[in-house]
Amino acid sequence: MRQRAFTFFALFAAIIGGAYLLSLSNSENKNQSVTSGIIESEVAPRPAHLEKQTVTAPNVERSPKYPAKKDDPRLERHTNGKVSFKHAIEIARQMHDPESDTYTDLERLNEAIGFYRMVFKQNPVAGDNQMVISALTGNNPENIIVFPPDHPSINANGELLDRWETPYFFHALSSQTDLEIFSAGPDKKFGTHDDISFTDRGSRPLRGGDTTKS
């Protein structure tokens, strides 16, 4: 009897212990996964003196489904028929925050574009900066606004400027991927080493070049 009780107890302890170890193992795996993700994002070639600031990733769940209900509190309806995505506007207004940096600006801009993509299932047609900003500020078939038309960094030509007052460059690779967005950096010239980019493929030089063998 005592032996059976001992066996039962040992088995019970083994199950509990195994479950605990398994949970620890899963927890470690989760931590590794998260850590791995952070490490990957940190690998992006940003200058060491610029600390990356975390911004929330585009989140479809918290965004209104479109077309949205009339009284959806996440939307602001304007008298001219345009509809603002409040959260997108809020994010866009944080661009060029003096406490922030250009990488964060690019991430915020990309997030605003993410709201556009959520509705239209594609990027805005990106002939140039002016076309992209026009689409983001409401000149689109659904009249949605994901970027404030009165943003202080939009110039008289309707172009969105970076911190050094050079228009951002939008590089349209595919409707299926993020737009590549470039800031010319402090020297205000594209194609130089201080260019700053946001792309889901990681940074790459903004140039073509001879593909032939050297």
């Binding site: 047609v125 002016q130 026009s134 690779l173 595919s174 409707s175 194609g191 140039r207 073509g208």
Partner: protein, 567 residues
């Protein structure tokens, strides 16, 4: 055993052989015929009678969006020449030596840029006064051979051509059905290949032609796919539902299975029998497994792909062997007087035009080699067994947002050399092969899009141009010469008004993006018709080009597209 391997007995052998080119499969042991490629080529080469009806289309794709505003350039008395000088700014090509010196001074350059016109010692790339405008144009200084070919009448340009769902102008731009994601690389490439730009990609127009020809039994003796790419899989060659798979070759020919040594030397002996070593046994077992038929579609599909690859390997190897062998050889005699004739032709021509000192074909740039293998496969066309064949090659590097002045001259220099190599190869083949005519092969160029008329900066070293739309594309070959030679050179389609905010500019932005005045449908329809597609099969919902009826009939003089004859 059958249950275990899920084997089924029915095989559509006829279709399999035609699409896959597996000539020896039905005899059981495929490997017995695979050991010695030269031996195989003898057997294979004698099996088809592809002859006077042969035609090939070669797509020369310029990846990244070539700035063709710097390819066909208004000069001299052309009323648009002043616009060019004014608007193109730092990205412009000087017309005369004086212009080049002025540019040198203006931008503080330590060198004099090349200029266009030949009268004052320039690169000499003025092209003949073309109709209908009868205005002067020059080609980029790097395009010397192409200028010469244009002036001789075996190269033509179709100007301001691009993706269109319906006829679009600056007036109806805001209401027209536009291509999806204009100015985006991947989308525009897809649409150049599908020619159905208002819809997501389903198939390429060459793939649709292959599907039509498959139904019409146009290639009854086919031993390999009608669709061959030298640059990896391409959407141009995607047939509806994959009915005609494209076959990918490397720059040296077929892609063999890895792990069995060069030409399977590690697994097969000189007589094509399996070696008794472990590698030989492994190949034998692998091929035996691949010969099973399965009811499971994925298992069967896998076996089919592998067997098709082995069959194509045999066929492609035979074609290349013939192209590389001199006409006096006792085994696999080819048409040319010396061994490796095409290799030497390409190396010599490229060296001459590009100033290199290569000694063998393997040293050539990869895209030049792509065109070389296409030339070889055309030479060995009887082994492939197709009366109609489409080839694809690709040259990248044209996305010149920055450094256009550094990059474009070299890129176009290579383009010019590739054209020169291939055109000479076809002319020589016509000379040495009595069954081949120069007008059997037509090469056409395509690219993502043209680039903006105005540059994106004023710094000579870092400026470039950005994504735009309508572009100038070119075609060459004997069939073009047949039509164009009497007038020696002509710009087809309609040259755009080169002005920001002008009649052909997209009414958004201020950079000069030409709305195409000729649709890809019209351009391709002429090529397809020459290739053998009847006019009845070209248009309509089930036609090769469903949008074609939206535009002026490409066979009507009003379309100005008589750059090639009709079928």
């Amino acid at each position: 055993m059958n249950e275990r391997f899920n084997i089924q007995t029915k095989v559509d052998r006829r279709r399999f052989l035609r699409r896959g080119g597996l000539a020896g499969l039905g005899l059981g042991s495929m490997a017995a015929t695979l050991a010695n490629l030269k031996m195989m080529s003898e057997a294979t080469a004698s099996q088809t009678s592809v002859g006077s009806d042969y035609k090939a289309l070669v797509c020369f794709f310029l990846n990244g969006g070539c700035d063709t505003n710097n390819v066909v350039i208004p000069i001299g008395n052309n009323p648009q020449a002043d616009n060019y000088k004014l608007d193109r700014g730092v990205a412009g090509i000087p017309e005369t030596q004086a212009d080049a010196i002025a540019m040198q001074t203006q931008y503080g350059l330590s060198f004099t840029p090349e200029w266009i016109t030949g009268a004052d010692g320039g690169a000499g790339t003025e092209i003949n006064s073309p109709s209908p405008t009868d205005q002067q144009f020059g080609l980029h200084p790097s395009l010397k051979t192409m200028a010469s070919m244009f002036n001789q009448g075996n190269l033509a340009f179709v100007t301001n051509c691009g993706t269109l769902a319906e006829q679009t102008t600056a007036g109806n731009y805001n209401n027209a059905v536009l291509p999806i994601q204009l100015f985006s690389h991947a989308d525009q490439v897809n649409q150049w290949f599908s020619s159905v730009p208002q819809n997501p990609f389903v198939s390429g127009w060459a793939g649709r032609i292959a599907d039509l020809f498959e139904q019409n039994n146009t290639n009854p003796e086919a031993k390999t796919s009608m669709l061959i790419t030298a640059a990896g899989n391409t959407d141009l060659l995607v047939s509806p539902g994959g009915t005609v798979p494209q076959y990918s070759v490397t720059t040296t020919g077929a892609i063999p299975l890895t792990g069995y040594g060069t030409n399977y030397a590690g697994a097969l002996d000189g007589n094509g029998k399996y070696d008794t070593n472990s590698t030989g046994r492994r190949l034998r077992a692998f091929e035996a497994i691949m010969n099973y038929n399965h009811s499971h579609v994925i298992e069967q599909g896998y076996n089919t792909v592998v067997k098709r690859a082995r069959g194509n390997e045999e066929t492609i190897g035979a074609a290349v062997a013939i192209a590389d062998t001199n006409s006096g050889a006792s085994s696999n005699p080819g048409p040319f007087p010396t061994d490796n004739y095409l290799d030497n032709l390409f190396v010599t021509t490229y060296n001459t035009l590009r100033g290199t000192n290569f000694t063998q074909a393997s040293q050539l740039p990869n895209d030049v080699e792509e065109m070389l293998i296409i030339a070889k496969l055309i030479t060995g066309r009887k082994c492939l067994g197709n009366n109609r064949q489409v080839f694809f090659m690709n040259k990248g590097g044209f996305d010149n947002h920055q450094d256009i002045n550094d990059d474009l001259p070299g890129l176009l220099g290579d383009v010019d050399a590739i054209v020169a190599c291939f055109d000479q190869a076809m002319q020589d083949l016509a000379q040495y092969d009595p069954d081949f005519d120069y007008n059997m092969v037509t090469t056409f160029q395509a690219s993502d899009f043209n680039r903006t008329w105005t540059p994106n900066g004023d710094d000579y070293g870092t400026s470039g141009t950005d994504h735009a739309w309508g572009t100038h594309t070119w075609i060459f070959g004997g069939a073009v010469e047949d039509v164009a030679a009497p007038s020696t050179g002509k710009l087809y389609g309609f040259f755009p008004e080169l002005a920001v905010g002008g009649a052909d500019d997209v009414p958004q932005g201020n950079r000069g993006r030409w709305i195409p005045t000729t649709a890809t449908d019209q351009y391709y329809a002429r090529l397809a018709n020459w290739f053998g597609v009847s006019t009845a099969d070209l248009s309509g919902p089930q036609g090769i080009f469903p949008n074609l009826d939206e535009f002026v009939d490409p066979f009507n003089a009003a379309a100005n597209l008589d750059f090639i004859g009709t079928t």
